[in-house]
């Protein structure tokens, strides 16, 4: 793994969780059925909670505050993986992204839990306790779609499309494990493609940031809620 500062490492994770939380919340009120409305809203709440805790930790390192990190940076300063920047997708692609992200995130959290830095290891372990339920939900949906004649090709197509993005969530050293787990689940080989790396941003991110920071930008300085 390339040497990275603690702040940089945690910011990448925080940005992923914040943006994916935001994207997941786009299903609130309009998911195909009520259970999924509740599920995606709850998952969104967890992810944004993880982001908040991570930003607080980074803010302590950098001498700023969590909201400033979440909302006041320019687009170029976000460390997010392009996978989480894509806007709300149709259901097969939503499930494909959800499962690919949670699978990659599990591998990343396992690595962070083994960190020498007790703060990083501690927060990763705490986050992982909640992520267990996201993985259960994602796996349940993948199994369900794989078992259906109509759904399987649609899921497969979505997985192919998002695969280079999923690879971009992880650093080079962790990628082979993602390939292994995804191929084991699907029972087939995934294409060898170049990852869409961090640092590249999808056009949709600008739109998302604009929406996400609207209230903060419109509030007079020092406003309290």
């Amino acid at each position: 793994m390339p040497e990275r500062s603690k702040a940089d490492l945690l910011l990448a994770l925080a940005d992923d969780e914040l943006l994916l939380g935001w994207r997941n919340s786009e299903w609130t009120g309009i998911a195909p059925f009520l259970e999924e409305d509740v599920a995606f809203s709850s998952i969104a709440q967890n992810e944004i909670g993880h982001a908040r805790a991570l930003y607080e930790l980074v803010a302590r390192e950098l001498g700023t505050d969590a909201d400033a990190l979440a909302f006041d940076r320019s687009l170029d300063e976000y460390r997010s993986a392009p996978l989480v920047e894509l806007r709300r997708l149709e259901w097969a692609r939503t499930i494909a992204r959800h499962w690919l992200y949670e699978t990659a995130d599990a591998i990343r959290l396992e690595a962070l839990k083994a960190s020498d830095d007790s703060e990083i290891a501690g927060i990763a372990a705490k986050i992982d306790r909640e992520e267990v339920y996201h993985r259960i939900h994602a796996e349940m949906w993948v199994d369900r779609l794989l078992a259906s004649e109509e759904a399987r090709p649609r899921l497969d197509e979505a997985l192919e499309e998002l695969w280079p993005y999923a690879l971009g969530v992880l650093d080079d050293d962790l990628r082979p494990e993602l390939v292994r787990r995804v191929e084991a689940k699907l029972g087939r080989e995934m294409p060898h493609v170049e990852p869409v790396p961090r640092g590249h941003h999808e056009a949709e991110l600008a739109e998302l940031l604009d929406e996400m920071t609207m209230v903060r930008r419109s509030a007079p300085a020092g406003a309290r809620w």
């Binding site: 259970e35 509740v38 599920a39 809203s41 709850s42 998952i43 709440q45 967890n46 992810e47 944004i48 909670g49 993880h50 908040r52 805790a53 607080e56 930790l57 007790s118 703060e119 290891a121 501690g122 927060i123 372990a125 705490k126 986050i127 306790r129 909640e130 267990v132 339920y133 259960i136 939900h137 796996e139 349940m140």
Partner: protein
């Protein structure tokens, strides 16, 4: 050097007792102490330090809990210093036996012990989760997610009542 020369006549037990009076903002039958989120209480001069571990990290009740603890400590005549500790020290196993009983009485099935291992879908679907209303274990999982991050939705086939199951984390 403290000019006032006054010492606070307060013991950690007094603080624990005061915190045990604070209900969980979302499930008020159980107190913050029952919930196991108060990790440590220390008294230094006229300041009371509380280490506090959130349950779920996105829990919207977090700030309310902190404000209520600060208020309770001020009520004891001390200056509060509540620190949120973001480590892995809280799990649902920290909910006290009394807390679990209060949850059950209020219609929430308490969390399964963590010792049974990391939860899996098979365990959630097939495990013997007990209905808090009638006591039957003939219950099924309706949704892993529920009205707050800490709860799942289950249905009792015996008494035909839905109920909320505290997630094991």
């Amino acid at each position: 050097m403290s000019g006032a020369g006054y010492t606070l006549e307060l013991s950690p037990e007094d603080v624990w007792r005061a915190l045990a009076e604070i209900p969980d903002p979302e499930i008020p039958v159980i107190s913050l102490v029952d919930l196991g989120v108060v990790k440590d209480v220390r008294i230094e001069d006229d300041r009371v330090h509380v280490d506090f571990t959130p349950t779920f990290m996105g829990c919207p009740a977090l700030e309310t809990m902190r404000a209520q603890m600060e208020e309770a400590i001020r009520g004891l005549g001390a200056e509060p210093d509540v620190e949120v500790v973001l480590d892995d020290s809280w799990s649902t196993d920290r909910i006290s036996a009394e807390g679990r009983e209060k949850l059950r009485a209020a219609g929430f099935a308490p969390p399964a012990p963590r010792s049974a291992g990391t939860p899996t879908l098979i365990q959630l679907e097939r495990g013997p989760f007990r209905c808090p209303w009638c006591g039957s274990t003939d219950t099924r999982l309706d949704n892993v997610f529920g009205p707050t991050p800490c709860r799942s939705l289950r249905y009792c086939n015996a008494c035909r009542q839905p109920f909320e199951q505290f997630k094991t984390i």
